[in-house]
Structures are given as C-alpha cells and as structure tokens.
C-alpha cells in the first residue's frame, strides 16, 4: 500500500467473500485484514458484503401450510403407463439435418452420374416422363391427319417405286420381308370407322396413285375407257373388229400394268415396312396407309378391267347381232386368247402374283380370280357400312383389311413400366423425402435454439 493509493490493488469481491466465509488460509486472512484496515474502500466493500450476507441469513423461515407427505393414494392414476420423456439435445437435430443433407448430396450425385438408371441421363428421363409421352401420343394423330403431310409422305413413297422398270427390280421389290409376311398372315383388322373418317384423304391418295400409275404405263397405251368410247363410235363390223383387237391389246397392257402396279405397290409396302422398323411411329402409320392405298389401287384396277370386259362382251354381242356373218368368221370372233389373257391377268399370274398375294390374301380366296360377284360381296354393307358421302374409292378402301393392327392404334405402354424409369422415379422420390427431412430437422433445430435462448 503506497501513498494516495499508488502501488495498492483493491481486494476483489471473491477474496472478500472467502474472507467472510472463512475459506481463506491463515496467511491470506492476515493480509486481507491488513489491507482492509488500511484501505477505506476495501473496508466499505467488505462491510457491504457482510450486511448483505447478514440480511439473507436473518430472513425468516416460511412454514409450509400443508404437509407434502406421500401416501399410496397420492400416486397419480394413469390409464396408460407413463412414457418416459426423452430429452433430445439440440445438436442431435443439427447433426441429423447435416447427415440428411449429406445423404441428399450423395443421392443427387449418384443420380447425375446415371448409376440409378444406366443409359439414361436426367434429360432423357425428363423427356420420357409420362407427361411428355402423353403429349407425343396426342400430337401424332394430329400430325398424320393433316393432308399436306400425308401427300408428302405418299409422294416420297411412290417416287422410288416409279423408278422400278426392269423385271429383276420388280422381283426384288416383290420379295417380302418376314415381317411383312407376318403382317399379311396375321388376323386382319378392319378399320372401317377410321377409313370412313378419313374418306376424302383416301380418295386423294387413290387419285395420286392413279396418276403415278398412268405415268408408269408408258403413256402410249390408250386408256381403257377411251378405247371403249372409240369402239362405240365405230359403226362397221371391221372397225368393230379392229377396235376389239385394240381393246385386246389394251386389256393385255392393262393387265400387265395392273400387275406391275401391284408389284410397285408391294415394293412400296415393303419399303414402308422397312422404314417402319427404322423410323418412328409416324412412318409406321404412313406404311399402313400405303398398304391400304396399294390394295385399293389393285382392286380399283381389277374392277376397271372387269367393267371393261363386260363392256367388250356387250359390244361383241351387239356386233354379232348386227352382222352375224362377220361374227361367225374366226378372225373376227370374240378374242378368246385375249379374254383368257385378261382372265389370267385378273387372276394375277404366277410370275407376279407373289407381289399381290400379300395384299389380296385377306380379300379373296387364295389362287382364285376375283369376280364381280365376289367384289360385290366384299362391297356389301355387311362388310363395310356405307356412307352416302363416301365414293366408290372410299368404299373399296374401307373394305380393305388392314392386316395386323398398326401400333399407332394401340396406346404405347406407360413409361413407368420401364424398370429403369421406375427405379429413377423411386430414386427421385427418395431424394425429395430426404430434402424434406433435412429441411424439417433444420427448422426444428432453429426453433429449439430460439426456445432455449428465451
């Protein structure tokens, strides 16, 4: 202790309290007594602490007004055994939230690397989601209903077929792949309703195909209807006989062109089937429509030849009635050979019938020539419901069996059926649950901390 407090350090409250409570050793107790005696501030502080201690000690004891004794009847009666309350420390919430966040990070990393669904990335999975596949299903019929797209697809399919000129190419084109044979042998599906709905479109297809067939027929052969009109214009028997010969030639040409058209149609069908397996569902629908088109074309050509044959026979009968002498001569008689050729052509000769078998098999008895009665049977209302708006081409197109059902008619399987997609969806669900768990634990932890601070 120095003058004016220099070199003196006041005693702390802890030391003074220990001095009051007699918890200081003898040496320290003597030093404190010396300091308190020489320093009035330390003496006042010691006195204040002593008064506070004395006031607390003289506080009166409060006597409880009732006893707190426990008797067995005082035991609380509970219907269920008391569940011990478990106090979860705050760090447990924080630790669990951190662990959940770590697990979530690992799951996202595994998901991003594609280990959950091999061969699928996040973008692919999102593209193949059920919603997007549903959108594709809904948009595909709309696209194929537009006539512009149909005609474009048709010209693309017909143009390569028009380049087939040699017999070798025709025979190559008539080789059906196994898939197309399976399509032809499978039970037919008559899509009459769909064809009726798209009646004008089928008529357009038939018109386009006819124009292409006419260009295939080398142009110099007159059309059968024109020859019939010229035959009606001739009045003499000689002219009739010449017209009949020309009709024979034209019929033969028509028969051969019919077979070629059938072969071309079959080649178109084969190509379209190949494209079906390579391309997407849109190409499959185009191939089916081309098949319908080819069958309707064949039937239309045959109905034409049948009508021409009937017209010719009527003309021959008329000429025989007009000049029996001329008719009796063998040179002017009915063209048996030509009629036989026509019948053979109508029956699709063996060399080229392989191309038409696949188309005609569902329509007519195998190997038999289609007569007008059979065609009438096929065109009967029992086969196809007739609509007043539909023309003869649309009726024929409607009566054609489409072979195996197209895959567009059957809804594609749901994306969830794919095992990899299901695993990916399950993994995403687990990720979401982990994220929710982490967020909930974090919220609980924050709430607990705020409660503890209060």
């Amino acid at each position: 202790m120095g003058i004016f407090g220099l070199g003196h350090k006041h005693l702390s409250a802890g030391t003074l309290n220990e001095y009051l409570d007699d918890r200081l050793p003898a040496g320290a107790r003597g030093r404190v007594q010396q300091v308190v005696a020489g320093c009035p501030d330390c003496g006042l502080e010691l006195e204040a602490l002593r008064q506070a201690r004395l006031l607390l000690r003289q506080l009166p004891k409060i006597t409880p007004r009732r006893s707190f004794l426990i008797s067995p009847s005082n035991e609380p009666v509970t219907a269920f055994p008391a569940i011990p309350r478990v106090r979860v420390p705050q760090w447990a919430y924080a630790g669990t939230a951190s662990l959940a966040a770590l697990v979530l990070t690992l799951m996202v990393v595994v998901d991003a690397t594609g280990l959950v669904a091999p061969g699928r990335t996040i973008e692919q999975a999102s593209d193949e989601s059920p919603a997007s596949s549903r959108l594709q299903q809904e948009s595909s019929p709309v696209m194929m209903d537009s006539p512009a797209i149909e005609s474009a697809a048709l010209t693309e399919s017909v143009e390569p077929a028009s380049t087939v000129s040699t017999a070798a190419e025709i025979s190559e084109a008539t080789r059906l792949p196994d898939e197309s044979r399976q399509m032809a042998d499978s039970p037919p599906l008559t899509q009459s309703v769909e064809v009726e709905e798209s009646g004008p479109t089928a008529a357009e297809i038939l018109a386009v195909t006819r124009s292409s067939d006419e260009s295939i027929r080398a142009g110099d052969s007159p059309a059968p209807t024109e020859s019939v009109e010229s035959a009606e214009a001739v009045s003499t028997a000689a002219e009739i006989s010449e017209a009949a010969r020309s009709r024979d030639k034209s019929l033969a040409t028509t028969a051969s062109s019919t077979a070629m058209a059938a072969a071309q149609a079959e080649s178109v069908r084969a190509r379209s089937i190949e494209a079906t397996h390579k391309e997407a569902a849109v190409d499959k629908e185009v191939a089916v429509e081309l098949t319908v088109e080819a069958a309707s074309l064949t039937r239309a050509e045959r109905s034409e030849s049948d009508s021409m044959a009937a017209t010719e026979s009527e003309a021959a009968e008329a000429s025989m009635e007009a000049q029996p002498d001329t008719i009796a001569s063998p040179t002017v008689g009915p063209p048996d050979g030509a009629l036989e050729q026509q019948a053979k052509a109508a029956a699709a000769p063996e060399g080229l019938s392989s191309a038409t078998d696949g188309i005609d098999a569902p329509l007519e008895p195998p190997g038999g020539a289609q007569t007008a009665a059979e065609a009438a049977e096929l065109d009967s209302p029992g086969h196809v419901p007739e609509t007043p708006e539909a023309g003869p081409e649309s009726k024929h197109a409607a009566a054609v069996d489409l072979g195996p059902p197209s895959q567009e008619a059957v809804p594609p399987p749901a994306d969830a059926a794919n095992p990899s997609s299901r695993a990916l969806l399950l993994w995403r669900g687990l990720e979401g649950a982990t994220a929710v768990l982490a967020l909930a634990l974090t919220a609980v932890w924050i709430w607990k901390r705020r409660e503890a601070r209060r």
């Binding site: 220990e18 204040a48 409060i62 007004r65 009732r66 006893s67 004794l69 426990i70 209060r454």
Partner: protein, 196 residues
C-alpha cells in the same frame, strides 16, 4: 413408504420429507416468489424424488433433494415465462397485501412492537424483490449458501456445478444484492446503514 437407494439402504421416504420439507418450501418460495407455485414445485419434487430414489448414491440427501427442487423451480420459471400468470391471492403471512385481513392465527407475536413488525416485513419484501432481480443461478447460490446454510461443496452438488462456479456466483450475487440494498436507504435497520 420404504425406499432403497443405489447402495440398497432402505429409508422411510415420508420421514425424509418431514425432515426437509420446510427447507425445500423456503427454497422454492424464495426462488419462485409465489407460495402456491412453491407448494406445487415442492410436491412435484418430492414425488419425483420418491420415484427416482433408487438413483440416489447415498452421499448427501439434502443436497440431492434441493437439487430436485431447484430443477423443478427452474422448469416452473421457464413455463411461467412462456405462459405468464397473474397471482390472485396474496402470499400467506403477508398481512400488508391489499384486500387481506390478518386472522387470529396471523397476529404478530408480542415479542416485537408493531412498528418493528412492519419494518421487518418491509425489509423482507425489499430483500425478496432484490433477490428476484438477480439471475437464477446467482439467486439459487445465495439461497443455498446464505439462506439455507449449505457449504460451497453441497451447493455445488445441488447446483450441479463446480466449486469455483459456486464461489463466483455467490460473490457476484452478494455484490449485486449489496448494491441494491444500498439504495434502500432508511428502510434498512440502523446497523445496516452505511455512512458514506
């Protein structure tokens, strides 16, 4: 009602209650400042002690029981802070509360004059008010050491803290309480008045 501690020694728990209930109730009432809450706290603490007496190691029963009472008082203070309540009836033995008339049982003894009785009551109320301004830990330390007469070691057992912590809490509590009592002025008895 015989109970066994961890060592296997049997005791009559009601005897334990009779021996410690006044001390426990004083501690609870000083801690809570509300006799009704203090009664509930003491009853709950004794019931909890009865159920968990098998965990008692047999060293210091008073410190163990006061620890249970102190923990129960802390829980009640926490719940009261969350759901504040207003006391309707006054504390017993406090005749100066408004609306209460002293009964024949509460008449002051003839050992002190009425003036002295009033001064004592006011001083006790002031001390209790000063105690309520302290923190829970400092209040409990002062109540255990200065009011209940516990040693620092027993107070450390009751407060579940070390000896140094008890010392610091007692020292800071006494200093804070002395500063508050200094403001009382003439309310303090003559022997407690400090001349500046």
């Amino acid at each position: 009602m015989l109970v066994q501690d961890r060592r296997g020694e049997s005791s009559c728990f009601n005897c334990v209650i009779e021996h410690h209930q006044t001390r426990a109730f004083n501690l609870a009432s000083r801690m809570l400042g509300d006799w009704a809450l203090a009664e509930d706290a003491v009853q709950d603490a004794f019931l909890s002690g009865y159920r968990s007496f098998h965990q008692f190691r047999g060293d210091n029963l008073a410190a163990w029981l006061m620890r249970i009472v102190a923990n129960r008082c802390r829980d009640m203070l926490r719940s009261r802070r969350r759901n504040p309540t207003v006391r309707v009836d006054p504390n017993p033995g406090d005749p100066d509360e408004a609306g209460t008339a002293p009964s024949a049982l509460d008449l002051p003894s003839t050992l002190e004059s009425p003036e002295d009785h009033v001064e004592r009551s006011e001083l006790n109320r002031a001390i209790q008010t000063a105690l309520n301004t302290l923190s829970q830990d400092q209040r409990l330390a002062l109540l255990l050491v200065d009011v209940q007469g516990f040693s620092y070691e027993d107070a450390g057992l009751s407060m579940n803290c070390s000896l140094g912590t008890v010392k610091s809490r007692v020292s800071r509590g006494r200093k804070a309480l002395a500063n508050r009592l200094r403001n009382l002025g003439e309310l303090l008895p003559a022997q407690f008045r400090q001349e500046t």
